[in-house]
Amino acid sequence: MMKQKLVIIGNGMAPGRMLEHLLELAPDQYDVVIFNAEPRVNYDRIMLSPVLSGEKTFEQIVIHGDGWYIKHGITLYKGCKIKTIDRAAKTVTSETGIVESYDKLVIATGSVPFIIPVPGNNLAGVLSYRDLDDVTAMMIAAKSKGNAVVIGGGLLGLEAAAGLAEQGMKVTVIHIMPTLMERQLDPAAGHLLKKAVEERGITVLNGANTKAIIGEKKVEAVELADGTLIPADVVVMAVGIRPNTALGKDCGLEIKRGIVVDDQMHTSDPDVFALGECAEHNGMVYGLVAPLYEMAGILAKTLVAEPAAYKGSVTATKLKVTGINLYSAGDFSEAADREEIVLRDASRGIYKRLVIKENRIIGVVMYGDTGDGPWFFDKLKKAEDISEDREMLIFGQSYAGGVPLDPMAAVAALTPDAEICGCNGVCKGKITDAIAAKGLRSIDDVRAHTKASASCGSCTGLVEKLLVLSLGDGYKPNAVQPMCGCTDLGHADVRRLIVAKPLKSIPQLMQELEWKTSCGCAKCRPALNYYMIAEWPGGYVDDNQSRFINERVHANIQKDGTYSVVPRMWGGMTSAKELRAIADVADKFAIPAVKVTGGQRIDLLGVKKEDLPAVWSDLNAAGMVSGAAYAKGLRTVKTCVGSDWCRFGTQDSTGLGIRLEKFMWGSWTPAKVKLAVSGCPRNCAEATCKDIGVICVDSGFDIHFAGAAGLDIKGTEVLGHVDSEDEAVEVIAALTQLYREQGHYLERIYKWAKRVGLDSIKEKIMVDTEKRRAYFERFKCAQTFLQVDPWEERVNGKDAHEFAAMRSFPQLMAAE
């Protein structure tokens, strides 16, 4: 049989799902060609908000990678927009001039954001919120930490606002209606939501009408109808979407709000279908994923001539902002024939409202505690008579029938046809059957086989409970995040196995732990190299090619490919001789920039790579060594002048700082380690935001750790008090060693401490002095192998190939 040709315009979630169904039903019936205006594969658009807030990366939300299209023989044109459809000739033509003929055509062009018609709406910096490009633009804009204005207080607008606030911007939400998300929430819940949004530092202006967007070349402010000016470096328009019907209209299909389709998804042309947000069925257009997925299933069946009919959808909404729980479904407007049951618990911030008509739930609004949302939604969809449990109904499933249930029992009590995953319409029975029949063991397995929890992920908890109910102890809930795509093992497992097996080289490790790639990737190799160094002091040969360039050439690469050089200044002390040598080096090598760093030393910026060994040679000659400003290792030890000079100084903080730096330099650690020693609680060395800090007091030394002053800002925790300098050095070295042995690569001390718990660290370092001694000794032993100045080694010829071109051609050859 000749294959028919199926052309799909658009590569969003709906056509992606439709293809999955189609390939399952009839893998060989069609040759499939997809035109995607976006230059990328199919991804989970619902998860853009977690990408914006930094909780996920793009890779984590890809649904079908390039390999999927290749595997199924599907031709995907990326970044290729269709310009015209010729229904008479049955062809489509792209803007780039590609012409494809079709037997069946699916229009899945989605929707376009509605841009409000105000002056300035086309200025640079005015964005919508529809695709990855918008998110990328927002994330770049957010780097300024400036002002953002979000126009629109609906689902998308609030998710955008929360994401931008998470990225450090000052965000104002302008909403024309009196309460937020008025289409999904009643005013009471809208009010609670507003409070929660404002608690995140976001300003909400209700009833505000945008008059103009002001700016010369790019957006500078938003002007409201009342004349108020709100400064803005970026404006996000999230006032709504409208079906993208342009192509359907141009080729003469019947259009109302969307492209009109029948129950089988046919447009007015029987060989042309419309699917997703661009389609209008029975007077309704949909913007949530669950109905789109339902349509996708129907269309797949229609395409293989199986009977199926789409009957419209009832939808539930959840807001995907971490920490704000909100659920709404059905119809909750007030009317004479309706009753309502309301539960308010102001101190816990809980609001629940059920709208009842003729003893049946027709609307649900929940805020704060949304656990019973699916249970109510189930009753709503089934139009169940609730007159019997009416009194206890609002308290939810736990109280139904009068017996309080624990959450696990509540899930166990659900009927097999209760819906678990709203996005994908997966019920409990389908999941438990799949777990039993296919031997599923993890959330990812369930996602792969049933699609439950594979879209917005808010039902993950329910799916987990079903796994526990089905598998008992066989389910390991804390499935670990793999190190990278090369392995399924997490950092903790890899570290454990290195010691347990034992594994003494990277090739051996990749062999025995069944790495999926031939020689790892740029993520795992540096991590493995560090773990080997930390585990086998003296017994492992450092793999230079597994180090990031900065650690390979012992200098910091800059954006133009030149390097910066920072010599150690022990405890921040320097001398006329050192400064003179630095000045001479700067002159001799025409180094364009010299800067004092935040870590009390001097940075020479813009050094050419081939000059590095000569620069180091001159610095070595003046007694200076590498400051390791590039290393996942000991960086600086910042000090104040202490009792030597300061009238408040209680101890010799400079001396202790120098002693620590001289003892600890050269050590490699999971991530960089910065120290500081302050001579009194006035804390001029800012020790309380460092990885490890010391505050000197009259009676001795307070040891602090786990501070941060970078991406995160966090004051230190107190590890404990010691009386003498010797003890301070022992405690700090032991703490560093514990971190070297437990930390995951690139995990700073504060994150490690959070993961393993402060008490477990204090116990090993401050309580059990024998353990502390053992960690200290292991640190000391490792240092005997690590305290070699890398600059001096390279001045003496090590890795010379790194610094010289293999061949230079000073002149070009003339063309013939």
């Binding site: 890809v62 990855l132 990737c521 597994s546 690469i557 490919g561 190939h801 071109a805 063309a815």
Partner: protein, 110 residues
């Protein structure tokens, strides 16, 4: 007919590493993979011009040191969600020597 020019010996390039050939038109990076295959690209990441020669070589790819874009050595094409292509230079190994196409050293005449 491609004409070739010698740029160094095969053993000069470290495994899972690279060496540079400098020309007035910019640097060319010569890469050697773990399985001893040789590739050459102009030393400029299509993203922000980062020196690819300084990246970590893994499989048939190199990760740019500036922003971690992953470039396929065979084609110069960017892998993953990003888009772009580093310029390729034809190269081969003969009698233990690395050769690149002489065209790379020709004066670019407008």
């Amino acid at each position: 007919m491609t004409s070739w020019i010698e740029v160094g010996s095969f053993s000069d390039v470290p495994k899972r590493g690279s060496r540079l050939v400098s020309t007035p038109q910019g640097d060319i990076a010569i890469f050697k993979t773990a399985d001893d295959r040789i590739f050459a690209l102009w030393d400029k990441c299509p993203h922000k011009g980062g020196p690819l020669s300084q990246g970590i070589v893994h499989g048939n790819s190199v990760t740019c040191p500036l922003h971690n874009w992953v470039i396929g050595l065979e084609s110069g094409l960017v892998k993953g969600p990003d888009q772009g292509c580093a310029r390729k230079v034809k190269c081969k190994v003969e009698n233990g020597l690395v050769l690149i196409e002489a065209a790379a050293l020709l004066q670019q005449v407008a």
